[in-house]
Amino acid sequence: MKDSKSVLVVGGGIAGIQASLDAADRGFKVYLVEKTPSIGGRMAQLDKTFPTMDCSICILAPKMAECYRHSNITLLTYSEVQDAKGSIGNFEVAVLKKARHVKEDKCVGCGICTEKCPVKVPNEFEMGLADRKAIYMPFPQAVPRLTTIDEENCLFFQKGTCRVCEKLCEAGAIDFDEKPEEIVLNVDAIILATGFDVFNPKAITAYGYGKYKNVITAMELERLICASGPTDGYILRPSDGKEPESVVFIQCVGSRDQRYNPYCSSICCKYAIKDAVLIREHHPEIDTYVFYIDLRAFGKGFQEFANRSKEEYGINYIRSNPGEIREDPITQDLTIWYEDTLTRTIKPLTVGLVVLCTASIPRPDNKKLSELIGVELDDLGFFRASHDIDHPVDLTVPGVYGCGFCLGPRVGDIPHSVMQAGAAVARMSEELAGMEEA
């Protein structure tokens, strides 16, 4: 294979990162386009990861740094694909690099500007459990390590005054005049890795998410139990900042449900077991319950993990799909009425915190990308593989491949995302080598 082949990778989560690294090591020139200010994706937000329970950002950060340093990889963060034409061996892609208003070559990430900026905005990385400023670094290990001004919230862009950050920045990195830039890339192939979104459980009114403060999602819990998260890793209730006496996990929220998402999200049983164990490790005094329909602890090591969570950590598993949650207006404790289908009894359970294990759903971005590039989506909104068994990472346009959760809930976890990334690189290498021969 010639060394001059190039590939566009869209999405900088673990799948896109691994695809970029494998492709770059294989000799491809890689353009990694990420729409947010930093690569890292969901994995950067997780606390510990099953099944080995190592710290997520600790194993991810080196890979992020490697992407940044690799001589074959060009990182285009805060950027989005605008247009695409052409075919395998010759795609022309227009990428819009949004205006960051912070010069990449000047900012040293000192953070002075973020301290003094007067505007507070809910922090997306912390799932809204903490604030960030209008000029911000998404998280401490962000790559690239520099700040971004979000125009929608910055006082200067909204009201024409402020510019505090500009005055304070010793590096002279702030540039209010910066304009978005369009970059046109010529690439041989495209790998899509846009990942997943979290289902918003507000739709299920009976669970009271958004109404009851102490009903949270699992993604929010990941930030709550993370030592570098908004509560320094202490499980504290949003309503009063106190430690709950008991925590309940509810499975299949918005998954396996014809009204919302008919599929099983594949990962939520496993991360519920993980998070329940983590809670007991942090706070052995907190009683922990998991309400499930089928406990899907499949694959290498997980049934053992589930058994151990029961026997060693004392997690209580209840087979039930609770109908409703009610809040005590005074204590803000939550009462769940449920039928235990194994003992056929109807009982109430009152707890301090409820964690909804919500479905993983397609990103809205998939639709736009499918229109630009011509690849099909499946009925659910994930990218359609060209054959479910035989071509699991090929999309429906030659030269375009997918990896990670944007292909739908396959195995859904990090190891499988990493494998899919390798598979996409292999497919791309095969097909481009075949073209060269022909």
């Binding site: 294979m1 691994q18 494998d22 090591d25 294989r26 000799g27 990861t49 099944p51 080995t52 190592d54 600790c58 194993i59 950060a61 080196p62 740094a65 490697e66 940044y68 401490p140 290990q141 790559v143 390590r145 030592a227 570098s228 396996r256 008919p262 599929y263 099983c264 594949s266 089928d294 899907r296 602890a297 499949f298 694959g299 290498k300 053992e304 993990f305 058994n307 151990r308 026997e311 289908t341 194994l342 056929r344 479910d388 068994i389 035989d390 699991p392 809930p409 195995v411 190891p415 499988h416 990493v418 494998m419 899919q420 390798g422 598979a423 292999a426 497919r427 290498s429 095969e430 080598a433």
Partner: protein, 591 residues
């Protein structure tokens, strides 16, 4: 110590991971007082872009010739910091890590004492760093050919991928035919295509590919050498064949468990069979009329001893124990603790096939949890629409099978939903049994020195981020050899294995381990102990003297401690270096 050491110490907060317990500024001030330390400072995250650039620039600015980072574990971060040293113009082996996170802040709560301990750890690291020497990583050429072991769907896919990319592939299958376990199947979930439609094109392609040499009825006799240059000896129809390859992909698959005779009346009562045997009947068209069929899930899986969940690799000594367990599993009541994840789907597949052929059949699936993950949930719904009955049994009361009048079978079980004992009179019982580690896989792992996981599947180098690589460089895993997978997942892993192998072969050279053992030939008496003990076969004793083959040596140090003559030393772990650290554990003895 040739030139005067100039040590730079970088202490990391690791956010609050370290900084929340250890008083980092105090450790920095302390480090500055240590002899030869010419620079000390702290970073919020030393592994961030900024932290790494800081190391690079400080080396130049302060003319450092030793770097100590006090942070987390070298297991994950040492390579990164070494690169930063290199970028600063320093030999990467003049770098030392002090673990003040796992060894300190994560295990201590008292801030004062933890800070004192962090100082001790830093002092030890600085002491050792003074004795460090530059090391070189030799370059090794990689042959552009690959051996794929196992001609199931995974081996076929991996072989074709590499061959399409222009690499020469030797595909070795021990059976006379290619195709593996899939060859025995009838139709495949989730598309319900005929097996042949998926499998045959791969077989044909492999057989006809100009870059693939297919060797069926062939077993591996011996594999010598190392990444880039493995010498393979195989036996094909009693004849010996030999060839050289640069990489190896292990795709030896898994076995389908058979319960021991008598367990669930298997092998005792007619009509009790495994799901695979039922599928064979379907394939041969031997199910001729509507019948009443009961399927029992988790037979042989999710049972047995509960392993404490530690993903430690089991090395060869334990392979023997696992082997006897597997062989024993076919003749005892032992089963497997994990969930094999294919058997729920497979039962539903066969149930659908039966109902579609004979709608008047009655099919019941007795399960614990139905694990139709991902979009397979649709398949579950389809079965329910076809009136396949799903009933739950509980782990504590497994279903029992007995004879019933009229050549029928009776399945009795406790239905927790109904709260009572139930029984079904039926014609056939299909037992859904798991994929289990194969004997061939374990024996091969022993030969290749690949660690096994707690169940006996071949173990990956890192469960999450290196799920395809093995501990042994140049050897990769594909398919069910590494654990249960369905076909699409096996294909993904096989393609990924091809990608990993192609990276090595495409780059043509790699750098190998610098930290090998060295024999002082003057001291060696040729006793051969090292040769016997080395787990990587790196020592060769010839003419009364031992030498180390550098490309094979992993620097594990086994020989170093074993040598009665103290003739062997490990680069980067010399006695001087270790003792310097030890001496400084409790007192300051840097000079």
């Amino acid at each position: 110590m040739k030139d005067e050491p100039r040590v730079g110490v970088f202490v990391c907060h690791c956010g609050t991971n370290i900084g929340g317990v250890v008083d980092v500024p105090e450790v920095v001030e302390y480090a500055k007082t240590l002899p030869y330390v010419v620079y000390a400072d702290r970073n919020l995250y030393t592994c961030s872009e900024e932290g790494l650039n800081n190391i690079r620039d400080t080396i130049k600015e302060y003319n450092l010739n030793r770097v100590v980072v006090a942070s987390c574990t070298p297991r994950t971060h040492e390579p990164l910091f070494r690169v930063a040293c290199q970028e600063g113009g320093l030999n990467p082996y003049l770098f030392e890590m002090a673990n003040i996170r796992e060894h300190c802040s994560w295990v201590h709560h008292d801030s004062k004492e933890a800070t004192e301990k962090a100082k001790d750890i830093v002092r030890m690291a600085v002491a050792r760093s003074l004795w460090l020497e530059p090391q070189e990583e030799p370059e090794l050429e990689i042959k552009d050919s690959s051996l794929v072991i196992g001609g199931g769907i995974s081996g076929l896919v991996a072989a074709i991928s590499l061959a399409d990319q222009g690499f020469k592939v030797y595909l070795v299958e021990k059976e006379a035919e290619l195709g593996g376990l899939v060859r025995q199947l009838y139709k495949l979930y989730p598309t319900l295509e005929d097996t042949s439609e998926i499998l045959n094109p791969h077989i044909e392609e492999a057989k006809n590919h100009r870059n693939i040499e297919v060797h069926t009825s062939t077993t591996i006799k011996d594999i010598e050498g190392y990444v880039g240059n493995f010498h393979v000896t195989a036996i094909k129809n009693k004849e010996q064949i030999e060839f050289d390859v640069g990489t190896i992909i292990v795709a030896t698959g898994a076995w389908n468990y058979h319960p021991p005779e008598g367990n669930f009346q298997y092998g005792v009562l007619d009509g009790v069979m495994t799901q695979l045997e039922l599928e064979e009947l379907l394939k041969e068209g031997k199910l001729e009329r509507p019948e009443i069929i009961v399927m029992i899930q988790c037979v042989g899986s999710r049972v047995g001893e509960i392993w404490s969940y530690e993903l430690v690799g089991l090395f060869h000594s334990q392979a023997t124990r696992l082997l006897s367990k597997i062989l024993g599993a076919r003749g005892s009541e032992e089963g497997w603790a994990y969930c094999s994840k294919i058997c729920c789907m497979n039962a539903i597949k066969n149930a659908i096939l039966i109902k579609e052929q004979f709608p008047e059949s009655e099919v019941t699936i007795l399960y614990q949890d139905l694990r139709t993950y991902k979009e397979y949930e649709d398949f579950y719904r389809r079965a329910r629409k076809l009136e396949v009955r799903f009933l739950k049994y509980i782990y504590e009361i497994p279903p029992e099978i007995s004879e019933a009048p009229g050549n029928k079978l009776r399945v009795s079980f406790y239905d927790p939903f109904a709260g009572e004992e139930m029984s079904i009179i039926c014609d056939k019982v299909a037992l859904s049994t798991p994929l289990i580690p194969s004997k061939d896989g374990i024996l091969l792992a022993k030969k290749l020195k690949i660690p096994l996981d707690q169940n006996g599947f071949l173990m990956e180098a890192h469960v999450k981020l290196r799920p395809i690589d093995t501990q042994i460089e140049g050897i990769f895993l594909a398919g069910t050899a590494a654990g249960p997978k369905d076909i699409s997942e096996s294909i993904v892993s096989a393609k990924a294995a091809a990608a990993r192998a192609s990276i090595l072969m495409g780059n043509k050279v790699i750098k190998t381990e610098a930290l090998t053992a060295v024999v002082n030939q003057d001291l060696c008496i040729g006793c051969g102990l090292c040769e016997e003990l080395c787990p990587y076969g790196a020592h060769i004793v010839k003419d009364g003297k031992s030498t180390v083959i550098e490309a094979l040596c992993k620097g594990c140090g086994v020989c170093v401690v074993a040598c009665p003559q103290k003739a062997i030393s490990a680069k980067h772990y010399t006695d001087d270096q270790i003792l310097a650290a030890v001496k400084n554990a409790f007192t300051e003895q840097l000079t």
